[in-house]
Amino acid sequence: MSRYHLDHLQHLETEAIHIMREVAGEFERPAILFSGGKDSICLLRLAEKAFRPADIPMPFLNVDTGHHFPELNEFRDRRAAQLGGKLIVRKVEDAIAKGIAIPAPGEISRNKLQIPTLLAAVEEFRFDCAIGGARRDEEKARAKERFFSFRDSFGQWDPKNQRPEIWNVYNARLNPGEHMRVFPLSNWTEMDVWEYIKREKLEVPSIYFSHKRQCVRRSGQWLPVTTLVPPKPSEEVREIVVRVRTIGDIISTGMIESPANTFDDIIAEVAAARVTERGSRADDKASEAAMEDRKKAGYF
């Protein structure tokens, strides 16, 4: 093999850095969506790779549902501060109070309420671009999405009318009120993300590693017991050794029983997995088109 050769992670990395820099070059007010989850951790490392030694030329934005794992928010705030970035947090709770987000009667999940909260933040800061960590291997509606995903003035994605995307030449042109979602990790798989985190020696929130936690068994999943998810009288609370494979809200993220303590353990677990990453996310199971419907409305 010649020395002028990139391995698969280096290929994915240079593709993503190129996209990050196109965003910096083409948009006036871009932001990076940063939750503290593993994918957005990679985004921030790619931003460092794209823009150092300068400051990362865009703020970090997070929509806080109020149902986040506390470990996630702690990590989010700490990592943003380490990088010297400006972190903007917009809360679903505040959006509800202002009447921007209106909960469906009886619905506890804040998942869909992230949409109006996010779109309100886009409007508030007049963001013309939001970089997200979504990957095409996660879900089949996402598998159809472009790197540069155009949103109309209502924030909507129109899957039947996407701009053709050819070579590495991205059309970033917008009219006023429209914005772009950009996904530099489109071609990354769950495995690539963990291999990259390991190669780059990145810190991740502790809940990705094995720990003891009180859980209840509900709808075939281990849910963490919290004030938001109190055990029902019929349910037995058990302390088990678990970790998260994917992080959603604390009320809907299934914990997986796992002894994985290191990146190598996690990578071995991903390799042996017989269900997809999002198999443990109740928000995706609502219907076959659950993700498509949310994305059309303006979801991440």
Partner: protein, 439 residues
């Protein structure tokens, strides 16, 4: 959905194309299913939808047809990307639609491919769509082509039929520019010759489809002669705490061609001023040399005028440059391309206005012959045009280098991406504005 394996060396990017009902999505579903790349919940979801809508029959196409309208109509509307790995390679598959309205998506799906699979229904043989897709693969200069002759079970696994279709292809292939073509008889529905060799084709001695994908030699796409760096972003730290960075000014971009070394002379275009590479910066530290397609930040010896849209080039081989361009195009929009119309074109990191000065010819899909002087190029047409830009662009012929030889055409007003352009080789190299151009 990847399987771990000690060092996976490379990625094969491929796309599938064919007509409606040729079985593209089924073929990808079969590749994933038989290579054990599907997860239990995906199989369950398939089985669930089979019970509801499929009369109990699992529909492998539902794996890639991710949109509601696609499942309803049983067609693929947009490019779907799938990822899988075997112990030998990682794969990115773009499932590109065959429906005539959506040919533009094939260009999207195929533009970055190492290999294209063109599906042919064994009962129908070569049709216009087969020629169109093969012509697009040739135009995009995709190095490898697989002609998958599908539904062989429906023609009784006839070797004679297989040979007939092969001959139909070989009749028009010489008019195209594809060097490596492989024919494989298969049945995506039943899995014959996809991952496992079929007992029905004792007369076929070649590899299965997956066997071929795992072993096909993908010579590097990347050109290592003649350095080009389209500048994306100027790196200038604001108020750095590190005093050494006060005067830092770096030019960031992805190397579009060739190799760059510290100490090398480079020319900045437009303008033609020459300077020397002082540092090659990456987040992981400075390097002595870097190559295409790495992303780097260059620091030059002199403080010269370089910004987004500029190109830094090696002196050994200068690119073409100018405002009069000659290109092949694939038109992708219902509003036709017409002479005299103005568009934006985006070439590397530079966006300029352009007017179409001439439509020289378009390709007749039935014969693959050039038809001179058409009135316009309609959606899905391939042709050759001349255009004039508002500012010079600096380029290579697409056949020599994809990243500096390609551009997209953007409609003014709607900002829709309406065309893909591939530049013909420059007739002369760029002439710097001043003869004494060295600082």
């Amino acid at each position: 959905m990847s399987h771990s394996s000690p060092p996976v060396i490379d990625i094969l990017r491929l796309n599938t194309c064919g007509s409606v009902d040729d079985g593209k999505s089924t073929l990808i579903g079969r590749l994933l299913y038989d290579s054990k790349s599907l997860m239990e919940d995906q199989i369950e979801a398939l089985e669930r939808s089979a019970d509801i809508t499929g009369g109990g029959q699992i529909n492998l196409a539902n794996l890639t047809d991710g949109l509601r309208a696609e499942r309803e109509q049983g067609i693929t509307i947009d490019v779907a990307y799938r990822y899988f790995a075997t112990p030998k390679r990682k794969f990115i598959i773009a499932d590109t639609p065959g429906h005539v309205q959506y040919t533009r998506n094939m260009v999207t799906g195929a533009s970055n491919s190492n290999l294209s699979i063109v599906l042919v229904d064994a009962r129908l043989g070569v049709i216009e769509q087969s020629r169109r897709h093969t012509a697009i693969a040739s135009l995009l200069r995709i190095p490898h082509l697989v002609v998958a002759i599908n539904k062989m079970d429906l023609v009784g696994w006839s070797e004679e039929r297989y040979n007939e279709i092969r001959e139909q292809f070989e009749e028009f292939l010489p008019r195209l520019d594809i060097k490596d073509v492989k024919f494989i008889p298969l049945s995506a529905l039943n899995g014959d010759n996809v991952v496992d060799a079929s007992p029905h084709t004792p007369w076929y001695v070649g590899p299965t489809l997956l066997g071929h994908l795992e072993t096909v030699h993908i010579a590097s796409d990347w050109n290592l002669d003649a350095f080009r760096l389209p500048v994306q972003w100027v790196n200038r730290p604001n108020n750095p705490t590190d005093h050494r960075l006060h005067d830092f000014r770096g030019f960031s971009g992805q190397i579009g061609r060739g190799i760059v070394r510290v100490g090398q002379k480079v020319m900045a275009l437009p303008g033609g001023v020459v300077s020397t590479v002082k540092e090659i910066n990456t987040f992981d530290g400075p390097v002595a040399e870097a190559f295409c397609p790495q992303s780097v930040t260059l620091v030059l010896e002199h403080d010269i005028d370089v910004s987004r849209g500029s190109m830094l080039v090696g002196l050994d081989s200068l690119p073409g440059g100018g405002t009069e361009l000659h290109a092949k195009v694939c038109w992708m929009h219902p509003r036709a391309l017409q002479r005299g119309k103005k568009y934006f074109i985006k070439h590397t990191t530079s966006t300029v206005q352009a007017v179409i000065t001439e439509i020289e010819h378009k390709l007749d899909m039935a014969t693959l012959e050039a038809m001179p002087a058409p009135a316009e190029l309609a959606m899905n047409d391939l042709g050759e045009i001349r255009l004039r830009t508002s500012k010079p662009i600096y380029f290579d012929g697409y056949s020599a280098n994809r990243l500096t030889g390609s551009f997209i055409i953007i409609e003014q007003g709607t900002n829709a991406t309406v065309g893909a352009g591939m530049l013909l080789p420059p007739t002369e190299v760029v002439k710097p504005e001043s003869t004494d151009y060295t600082i």
